[in-house]
Amino acid sequence: MAEPAAAAAGAPLIEVRALAKIYRVGVETIHALRGLDLTIGRNEMVAIMGSSGSGKSTLMNMLGCLDRPTSGAYFLNGRDVSRMGARELALVRNEEIGFVFQSFELLPRQTALENVELPLVYATGAWRGRRARALAALERVGLQDRVHHRPNQLSGGQRQRVAIARAILNKPAILLADEPTGNLDSATTAEILSLFRALHQEGQTIVIVTHEDEVAAHCQRVVRLRDGRVLSDLPIAQDVAGRFLAQHAAGGASC
């Protein structure tokens, strides 16, 4: 297993320096992030954990380029994205980020295939051959026989697989999953997490935001936040969540 914060070849994929985010709600000022530093290398699989109010959602929004920090810097793939405008950020999200959400966020009236194709609609470049690419992504998540089904004809696990296919379609730099198993039963959770691990083994960098140690135990590294700062940043074996490792090993990694 790779060491935490160990940079893969060249510059780290994600480099966050003194990241701060201040929200003003009425007269109240909320410090969601207070000077957070974080480095994630290529092909890492990292869990971000923390209780509610710890700033993990805010951090995820920052990492996903959905929001801009009040201060600090965020280098994604060597590019400073913390000062980009809404249009540029949209393009970065399109090309570099693949989102997986707790509630799947599929378009209900579109088929699995159309849902997977969605990022290509907003792509600036190669949108040709979209069907083949979308089919390949669906095949990768094991849904080649559910291509023309609509979300309401799919089970929860299948829906999340469609969402994952959509996320990996553009071969993003980061696969960013926000409580990806929050709406799934334990059997399906195991399936989805195995899928994540398989994707990781194929070279995908994955960041999972979760509050469950069992989920975090599938990652190599656990970053715990509290009050907008990094509380701990440890390899899984040294983290509390590591206690589930044996269990997973017993369950076997199947995909």
Binding site: N61, G64, R87, L91, E105, R109, L120, V121, Y122, R130
Partner: protein, 413 residues
Amino acid sequence: MLNPLFWLQAISLAFSQIWANKSRAFLTALGIIVGVASTTAVIAALTGLKSKVLSEFESVGASKFFVFPDRPDNAPRNMYPWEKILLKPAEVVAIREECTLVKAVTPITEVGLDVESGDKRIEGITVAGIWPDWHQVQNRFVVEGRPFSQIDIDSERQVCLINEDAIRELDLPANPVGEPVLIGGRRFMIAGIVETVQARFFGMNTSSAEIFIPFSVAEKLQERNFFMRIEGMFASPAEAEQGQDEVRFVLRRMRGIQPGEPETFQVAAIDKFIEQFKTLAAGITAIAGGIVAISLLVGGIGIMNIMLVSVSERTREIGLRKAVGATPLAILLQFLLEAVTLCLVGGFVGVAIGRLAAFGLTKIPGAQLEQADVPLWAVALSFIFCAVTGVVFGMFPAVKAARLDPIEALRHE
């Protein structure tokens, strides 16, 4: 920067949104449908009326002219008493003698008289006093018997011309030439039958029976200051303008009107009436345009309302689209396109209904609208108006959607 796939899916999404909310879309577009339908129907009717009237004018002839007595605008009544401005028989004679460009001219005076033949009697029929030139001016000739001659005029012969309807109404024999009729208690001999023209658009006669007598005879039947008009024609339409000047010159001199003084008569050629009618038609079209503008305004507010509902219903979808890389512009265009599509579909239905209504108009007997049709420019204009309405009223909801914060949007319930 937006690839073809974006446009493809944006358009298909716009239609699928309408399809998914059919009844809602219909009710929303109803304002636009009704507005466009009624306007296209009005324009169709107007177009039909216009071509009908213009062809009527055409048949009257482009080289024709009319002279009416006319009191100058803003002039005090006592300065121009009616008997002073009425046309005089001597003035027609002067026009005939002196105007070289006038090919034919006739005075016309109409008097209501009772006409009898045997035990048949028509009361208050319009009897017109004319000159022989009348046939040429009106382009209506004698089909049986003979027209008036100058001798009829000069010696005030009691002869008359009648038309087919008059023959029927008076129960005269099929060829009544030479038969006597009583006009205003006097005995006239029927000299000829004037050909019947198609039902005149402006023919307001309750009876279509027509009787003509020599002008000189009609003069005697009239009171001292009687009303007459002059109709005539120039040698060719090209000389119409010059010819009018000539007529005005003669009449000014006859009436002793000094230069700078207003004329107490009016010389008008047919093109003037066409011009007036076209102005009228344009005015009505403009009013129809105003109606469509108002209905599109009302319809547009409906569109805006429903688009706002759509944006708030689909907030999560917007959030997701932004998360996978939709730029604010892409979201804006998406919603704008939806509003425009909705308006255009409404416009399409409206034009279809308008066309149907126009077709219905042509089938109304006696409405004179056989030529009613929706002109292509009206169809094009309707669509342009609808598209503009979509853009204008879809803009606010679309901007709202484009400005949504993706995080907030994804959190929206």
